[in-house]
């Protein structure tokens, strides 16, 4: 059930360091239009990477959409995040074609290497590991996507090597 996405454990929805005035153009663009709730949330997420509590409150206050409606929509769709994410989001595909070609191994290898579980972010906020349904590159299964780059025909070791290289490239 989609409601499982709501985190029952109390996590900080911290937005103290966010510049909320960045939201103003988005609010101006969508305010008063019908069907604007999803574009508002998408805009906020694009700015900050996730939607913080203060961001929710500002959007609600200025558009008049009840907070409960906003939270309902934000937790319904997989796209919206309520927690901060890492700089690089690793999306490991778990579509059918990838599943039958051992996508589980990719996720497990990365979990082991990054020392985080699926859905979590590393302590240095450099990587977030996610499982996604089909990326639509089934012919290259199993695949993962980091940023706009898709990596295909992976094995656990190959995936770990790619991640190591990204970290290395960042350090240099």
């Amino acid at each position: 059930m989609r409601i499982a996405r709501i985190d029952t454990k109390k996590k900080e929805l911290n937005g103290d360091t966010q510049d909320l005035s960045l939201l103003d153009p988005i609010i101006a663009l969508h305010k008063g239009k019908k069907g604007n709730l999803i574009p508002l949330l998408q805009g906020a997420q694009e700015l900050y990477g996730f939607i913080s509590k203060p961001a929710f409150e500002k959007l609600s206050r200025e558009t008049g959409i009840p907070l409960s409606d906003m939270f309902g929509v934000a937790t319904f769709y997989a796209q919206f995040r309520l927690n901060p994410v890492g700089k690089n989001i690793i999306k490991v595909c778990h579509g059918t074609a990838c599943h039958v070609q051992n996508a589980v191994e990719i996720t497990e290898s990365l979990e082991e290497m990054l020392k985080i579980k699926d859905g979590e972010t590393t302590e240095d906020r450099f990587f977030t590991l996610e499982s996604v349904a089909c990326l639509g590159c089934c012919s290259l299964a199993p695949v993962m996507m980091i940023g706009d780059q898709t990596y295909g025909k992976l094995s656990g070791n190959e995936a770990v090597r790619i991640i190591k290289n990204i970290r290395l490239a960042d350090k240099n």
């Binding site: 059930m1 019908k34 309902g72 796209q79 059918t96 349904a133 089934c138 012919s139 898709t150």
Partner: protein, 591 residues
């Protein structure tokens, strides 16, 4: 004639490194001042041979496969500079026998007529291949709305999104609803795992979808159009945006378009936010309206009351891409392909354990065996073909012995699967059918919107039973419970998601009952997939005593000295599979 070099830049091509190939060729062209036109196109369907480069010169057309940056240098040097095509790299040509000639030859391309032939970001190239001629024909010959609907009806086209409802009828109903505002929506929320037909069409030929929508809008008198596209398809969205902009510039969208008085139409893209259930038309409408994507009760059908409570016609990407062709070539030409109740062609996304994974378009009526073996090239690594999964999470598994089933709506339905949107995932002997059923149920369980109790809770209960079975805790009566739950979920759910969610479980129980029983009664997984049911041992002949497995074992179940055969203590082993994955000498045995 000027030589052209075309690089395939679809998502799959780019993932395989086609951008590097393109850049390399471009750099060579610049530095050596070579005389050819360099072009971009999208997916040709031959995803397993990406990156693909096509060279057309006065002698003919040659398609090169697996052209990475290095091979690109070779191909340009030999073919362009020395006029000496490299036969070993050519995968398709009309001049001589090449490895993939059959792959192209057995297909009938209607939906994919332009994919891989034109630059998807150029409206001129689309127009040079009869693009926007269908709507111009309607405008020029003053073909009435009724006549357009009638020819779509006569063509026998049925919805390609999975439902299989007659497109002409759908249009007829929407046309019959009187209202000042009406909408036409393109459903591009391709959420089935294992399906990528719509993505390829949107990336490869976005204008054909737009033209299809414009014709539909004309036929039902729509005033607004929306394309609801998955956010996971950034390239498709980018190319659609370009296409819409170009169409607006040409005056193909806007006011009084194509000189038809009072025909006003604007189309915009609505990005989905990641919810499988939004592929269902009423949930999709709720999502466009900015709400949680929960299905509504039907009737009223969208044709009477849809988006913003106005009459709305929703068709899938592939359905729309068919429309211009039908108008140009006539309903009879379309209906000559296919079987009695399923006309035309169907695009399939072949994936899984098949040699040639990619996109194929075949006439309805071809057998599944032919699709997999003739076009798909058979099973990878000479393994045994076991089953094919059609229709994604709503579909089912068709076993090997039924693979002479023909591709048409009714024949596929008779097996318990559904045609679905066209994902065809091939499975071999190393695929566990219980695991596959669990995989799909896990998906539908997560994606259930939660509105109907049976779908929300029933799928969860079924998943728990399957979890137990694959963990070695299955018990007598599990299968009967699964079946009972399955029928209750089917009967008591509001939308297609719940009504079809149990299909993967039902078809696998029907055709692979022995595999379920092996899991439940004998605690064995015949395909060696379900780890808790496996025993890991060391092959004494192959073990070199390298100590890699020993070091990596998280529970220290492995003992042994350097250069001595290792031993796995079964009482400690948790069947995590790390030793199997890490061993470089294939000396860990599964049983």
């Amino acid at each position: 004639m000027v030589t052209t070099v075309t690089v395939g830049l679809g998502s799959c091509g780019i993932a395989a490194g086609a951008n590097k190939t393109y850049d390399k060729i471009n750099a060579l062209k610049e530095s050596d001042k070579l005389d050819f036109i360099l072009k971009k196109t999208s997916c040709v369907g031959m995803c397993y041979r990406e990156p693909l480069v096509e060279i057309t010169d006065e002698t003919g057309t040659y398609l090169y496969g697996e052209v990475d940056a290095n091979r690109a240098v070779e191909v340009i040097e030999k073919h362009i500079n020395q006029q000496d095509p490299i036969r070993d790299y050519i995968v398709y040509t009309d001049l001589f026998d090449a490895p993939e000639n059959d792959f192209i030859g057995a297909q009938v391309k209607i939906v994919l007529r332009n994919c891989g032939y034109i630059d998807p970001e150029s409206i001129e190239e689309y127009e040079s291949r009869e693009g926007y001629q269908a709507i111009k024909k309607i405008a020029g010959e003053k073909i009435s709305r009724e006549e357009v609907i009638d020819s779509i009806l006569k063509s026998g086209l049925r919805g390609r999104g999975g439902g299989g409802f007659s497109t002409g009828l759908k249009w007829k109903f929407a046309y019959a609803s009187k209202s000042t505002d009406k909408y036409v929506i393109c459903n591009a929320d391709e959420g089935d795992p294992g399906a990528f037909m719509d993505r390829s069409v949107l990336e490869g030929d976005p204008h054909s979808v737009l033209e299809g929508m414009i014709i539909a809008a004309y036929a039902i008198e729509a005033t607004g159009g929306v394309i609801y596209c998955r956010a996971e398809y950034p390239l498709a969205i980018k190319r659609l945006n370009i296409a819409i902009l170009q169409a607006k510039e040409k005056g193909y969208l806007g006011k009084n378009i194509f000189g038809i008085d009072g025909f006003n139409l604007d189309i915009y893209i609505k990005e989905g936010a990641g919810a499988f259930v939004c592929g269902e038309e009423t949930a999709l409408i709720a999502s466009i309206e900015g709400e949680r994507g929960m299905p509504r009760k039907r009737p009223p059908f969208p044709a009477a009351s849809g988006l913003w409570k106005k009459p709305t016609n929703i068709n899938n990407v592939e359905t729309f891409a068919n429309i211009p062709w039908i108008i140009m070539n006539g309903a009879e030409a379309y209906a000559q392909y296919g079987t009695e109740n399923s006309k035309g062609t169907k695009v399939f996304a072949l994936a899984g354990k098949v040699c040639h994974s990619g996109l194929v378009e075949v006439p309805m009526g071809m057998t599944i065996r032919d699709v997999i073996f003739k076009l798909g090239g058979g099973i990878k690594n000479d393994k045994k073909f076991k089953a094919v999964q059609l229709g994604g999470p709503s579909g089912g598994c068709i076993p090997e012995f039924l693979s002479d089933t023909i591709v048409d709506y009714d024949s596929v339905n008779a097996t318990g699967a559904i045609m679905g949107s066209g994902g065809m995932v091939v499975m071999d002997e190393t695929t566990c059918m219980v695991d596959v059923a669990k995989f799909f149920l896990d998906f539908t369980c997560k994606e259930s919107c939660g509105k109907c109790t049976f779908c929300r809770l029933g799928t969860k209960r079924m998943l728990e039973i399957l979890d137990r079975i694959t963990n070695g805790q299955g018990k007598a009566g599990d299968l009967e419970n699964l079946e009972e739950l399955a029928y209750q979920i089917k009967d008591n759910s509001l939308c297609g998601l719940g009504q079809t969610a149990p299909n993967p479980v039902l078809t696998t129980i029907r055709y692979f009952r022995d595999e379920y029983e092996a899991h439940i009664m004998h605690k064995k997984c015949p395909a060696k997939v379900c780890r808790p049911l496996l025993t890991y041992t060391v092959d004494e002949e192959k073990c070199t005593g390298c100590m890699v497995c020993l070091k990596n074992c998280p529970v220290k179940a492995i003992t042994g000295e350097r250069k001595q055969v290792h031993f796995i203590n079964q009482e400690i082993c948790t069947q995590c599979g790390v030793c199997f994955a890490k061993c470089k000498f294939e000396s860990i045995l599964l049983s």
